[in-house]
């Protein structure tokens, strides 16, 4: 049953000539010069036969009965500043509309030459085929904004099955930087998904990578919303509340105790957990960290040997030593033993089929990781990680990598997404769907340049993720610079204000010139949305997200300055229990090695005990008097000169 819109007077009339005909996909209509119709407006045309066409305005022209500009010059006697003519020329506003839908769908016929009406709320629902999922039981609609035309505010929703799978999935958003549109839009979409995701489809969580500044640093803090924004929330049936279950993860700074995040205000620190990995966490993703030009098949084989036979296993070498390698420090001891053993034998360059040059190369590269990623990777094997296996429904897990270098960001991104995929494949993550939000996609999945492990993984998510429940929400400034398979697999495309140069690239030529101009001048808070159910892009307005944006958050919660080691330990423990006594903590850690303190701190933070001070003290253990070894450990001797058989 077609639900017709209201019967307001027509705002235009379809015109069709031999050179400007109406077709099944496009038609033209004129309006009065003073009209509320504009680019992006949705209109309806009814035929007496019962056929109804819904369309979106994609182009507009105005012209008068002036045959040639010369006539205007003659009439003004060559003086543009001359007296205005007493009569204005007849003028036409001629609009081009692209058909969104015709009812009935078959047979496909040209749009009837009839009156044109502005779409009502019911018309918008029909035009965008939202009736199929918004009126389904239960509804699969995820509101993403309001379509506005004059006084009309009509909700526009996406289909869950096409946003989060399994039909299609992924969302890609493009737009120029600096308008805060991309991040704000994604946060609003997440809020909408969390409130409207159908229960029968299971649970959903979000993992957001904060790659620059404080963008995602305050998702648990309510925003100050304008009345207009509140109206939009009401129209969309959304409660403008911040996210409930937000957990932050940030690596340490190189000092190993101050967190590398702008969310360091004391009032907010309790929700921030350190992100610290040891050897085991890193070794599986060595490909991210090691240069492929540098590491060949033989080095790969040795790395596999270490991962399979040595790390976290009891390993006996040929010289009677037993090793249990759980950290970079213990790995270094193994390498030292190998080099010492070979040196002592003095006869061979080969250890267990691996050439010593290969072993040395791998050793240098691996041990360098803990230096390059200091703060994220520790030498001592202690780890603080995301709660894989215990993800919570509607939980938001923000990983703050903004302060890390590219290498560290690549490692964090690769490992976390890989772990998410592994757990989703085993269905033991804790939730059924995970939305991964990545900004600056053109950096991680560029359209050109060398292939990288990160890009391969993003391609894999794009192409297979929807079957697993792993959904990619990605943002970038220039869509044309992102790998086209990553972009092409996004079922939903969102565009904020675009750069004109970007709009000149081939990917945007399907849009009319007027639509491109509108995209280039979109105000903050407006988006163009493409979705599988929408046969043409539609423009929507979305409200300020229900949380503080980065700059707003920094104003309200300015970050704390870095503090000395003992102060930082006290601050972190205080985030668990504000009643701790600082002097007591400082006494406990006085004269203790910083590595021991860090380890105890990590464990305490992970466990979150009731009595923080007691647990920390117990984990730290009794102080052991420092003794001087009679024979200090020898440094690794230099290898005698050997010819590297693998050198090019």
């Amino acid at each position: 049953m077609i639900q017709r819109g209201d019967e307001r007077p027509p705002i235009g009339r379809v015109v069709a000539t031999e050179t400007l005909p109406a077709s099944p996909h496009q038609f033209h209509f004129w309006t009065a010069t003073s009209t509320s119709v504009g680019i992006g407006a949705i209109v309806r045309v009814d035929a007496p036969t019962g056929r109804t066409a819904y369309a979106v305005v994609v182009d507009g022209r105005a012209y008068s009965d002036l045959a040639t500009p010369l006539h205007d010059v003659i009439a003004a006697e060559g003086d543009p500043a001359g007296a205005a003519p007493p009569t204005q020329r007849a003028e036409v506003r001629l609009w081009t509309a692209a058909v969104l839908r015709q009812v009935p769908e078959e047979p496909v016929q040209p749009v009837p030459i009839q009156d044109v009406h502005l779409a009502s709320e019911a018309d918008v629902e029909m035009a965008l085929r939202m009736d199929a999922y918004a009126r389904a039981e239960p509804s699969r609609a995820i509101p993403v904004g309001v379509y506005r035309a004059g006084e009309l505010r009509a909700p526009v929703s996406l289909d869950t099955d096409f946003l989060l799978g399994p039909e299609s999935a992924h969302l890609n958003i493009s737009g120029v930087s600096g308008l805060a549109t991309k991040t704000s839009a994604v946060l609003f979409f997440l809020a909408s998904i969390f409130q409207h995701f159908p229960p029968r489809k299971g649970s959903v969580a979000a993992v957001c990578f904060n790659v620059k500044g404080p963008d995602l640093g305050f998702l648990d803090q309510p925003a100050q919303l304008s009345d207009e924004d509140r109206d939009v929330y009401e129209v969309l049936g959304l409660d403008p509340r911040p996210f409930d279950g937000v957990r932050y993860f940030a690596p340490f700074k190189p000092d190993g105790v101050n967190l590398n995040t702008l969310r360091s205000h004391p009032d907010l620190l309790s929700a921030v957990q350190p992100l610290v990995w040891g050897l085991r966490e890193v070794l599986d993703y060595h490909e991210v960290l090691l240069n492929r030009d540098d590491i060949d098949a033989k080095a790969d084989a040795f790395l596999d040997f270490l991962a399979d036979r040595v790390v976290e296993k009891e390993f006996r070498d040929e010289w009677g030593n037993t090793h249990r390698v759980r950290s970079f420090g213990e790995l270094e001891r193994l390498f030292r033993a190998i080099f010492d053993g070979l040196e002592g034998q003095g006869r061979s360059d080969i250890w267990r089929t691996h050439h010593i040059a290969t072993i040395r190369k791998v050793r240098n590269r691996l041990l360098n990781i803990s230096t390059r990623c200091r703060g994220l990777v520790t030498d001592d094997g202690s780890a603080s990680d995301l709660p894989f296996g215990a993800f919570e429904d509607r939980g938001v897990y923000v990983i703050d990598v903004a302060g890390m270098d590219q290498l560290g960001q690549d490692l964090v991104f690769t490992r976390i997404v890989s772990k998410l995929r592994e757990h989703l494949e085993r269905r033991d993550l804790g939730v059924d769907h995970v939305i991964v939000f990545v900004d600056e996609l053109n950096k991680y999945a560029p359209g050109d340049g060398p292939d990288s492990y990160v890009r391969k993984m993003l391609l894999d998510i794009s192409e297979r993720g929807r079957y697993l429940g792993l959904v990619l929400f990605a943002a970038q400034q220039f869509r044309s610079q992102v790998h086209r398979r990553v972009v092409g697999n996004a079922g939903t495309m969102v565009f904020g204000r675009m750069d004109m140069d970007e709009l000149a690239t081939p990917g945007y030529q399907v849009l009319s010139p007027a639509t491109r101009i509108k995209l280039a001048t979109l105000p903050k808070g407006e988006l163009m949305v493409r979705h599988p159910h929408f046969t043409q892009p539609v423009f929507v307005r979305f409200p300020h997200p229900p949380v503080l944006t980065g700059p707003e958050g920094l104003d309200r919660f300015p970050p704390s300055a870095d503090v000395p080691f003992d102060e930082a330990v006290v601050r972190q423990l205080a985030s668990l229990d504000r009643s701790i006594v600082a002097t007591r903590i400082k006494d406990l850690i006085a004269d203790r090695s910083e590595d021991d303190v860090r380890r105890a701190l990590l464990v305490t933070r992970r466990v979150k005990p009731d009595d923080v001070t007691a647990y920390f003290a117990a984990t730290l253990g009794p102080a052991v008097r420092r003794e001087r070894l009679p024979d200090p450990a020898r440094a690794t001797p230099a290898l005698r000169a050997v010819e590297d058989p693998y050198a090019p």
Partner: protein, 285 residues
């Protein structure tokens, strides 16, 4: 055939002189424009007698805040034939057509070409008739506003005398009212000049005041290029207003009525009235 000559008597002085009207001054609101169109076609013959189908229309467009909008519009579709020459059965057949039927009989002898010419004259009379009706109606409804008519005002003032705010703008100069130096002066006016006012007779007793106005330079063109003749009802004060009326008619040169071939004499609002009527004429256009 109508005679190409008629008499004109100078009113503003003893003979016709050229007068500069000065800078154009637009008349903004409170003015309307009336024009009509006519079409006919021979639909068939009863014997050798042509049966003509006619269509006439007229409209008044009023200007308000530089925009023109229709305030009245009338059309008529009808059949014209020399009824006196038709056989009874032929007449009965014509009576079955659901359109008004008008006679254009002129004698008992049939002449297919003359019969069509006579039918055309009937069509023209029908157009004059509805133009007159619309003018009368407008003047009743808005007696304080100007009404500019495309063509002579003789038919209008016959019913609404005295109509002080009716202006006729005549583009064709088939009939000449002046002769000698007066004619030379009138037809060689420079752009922005008007002739002095003279009167011409209308019917047996009436008269109108009239003068020439050159809208565009005629040099390098023919004598009648850009030349219009203005008519107003003969009334007190008309001569004194001739220059003011000429000034605001000069202002009506913009916008240009091009690409109409008569753009040098056709006022743009009149072109709009024509376009309006043609657009509504449907299959007749």
């Amino acid at each position: 055939m109508q005679s190409p000559f008629a008499s004109g008597v100078p009113i503003e002085g003893d003979h016709i002189t050229a007068k500069s009207v000065g800078e154009p001054v637009a008349l903004a609101d409170g003015v309307a424009f009336l024009d009509g169109i006519q079409r006919f076609a021979v639909e068939g013959h009863l014997g050798v007698t042509p049966i003509v189908r006619g269509y006439v229309a007229a409209a008044v467009l009023r200007r308000q805040r530089e925009q023109l909008s229709a305030v009245s519009h009338e059309t008529e579709e009808f059949v014209v034939a020399p009824l006196a020459r038709l056989q009874p059965d032929q007449r009965r057949m014509l009576d079955t057509i659901p359109l008004p039927l008008y006679d254009c009989s002129n004698g008992e002898r049939a002449h297919p070409l003359v019969d069509v010419q006579l039918a055309a004259v009937s069509v023209e009379h029908r157009r004059d008739e509805i133009e007159r009706r619309l003018a009368s109606q407008y003047l009743r409804d808005a007696p304080d506003e100007w009404l500019v008519i495309d063509g002579a005002i003789g038919g209008v003032i016959a019913e609404t005398s005295p109509p002080p705010k009716v202006i006729g703008v005549i583009k064709s100069h088939d009939t000449q009212f002046l002769e000698g130096n007066d004619l030379t002066t009138a037809l060689t006016l420079s752009a922005g000049q008007r002739s002095s006012v003279f009167s011409r007779r209308v019917g047996q007793r009436g008269q109108v005041y009239t003068w020439y106005l050159r809208l565009w330079p005629w040099e390098d063109h023919d004598l009648l290029y850009g030349l219009v003749r203005i008519e107003r009802a003969a009334a007190d004060g008309v001569v004194a207003e001739a220059t003011d009326v000429s000034r605001w008619l000069m202002a009506e040169r913009a916008p240009l009525a091009a690409p109409d071939e008569r753009w040098d004499r056709l006022l743009y609002p009149m072109r709009r009235v024509e376009a309006y009527l043609q657009a509504r004429a449907g299959r007749w256009w």
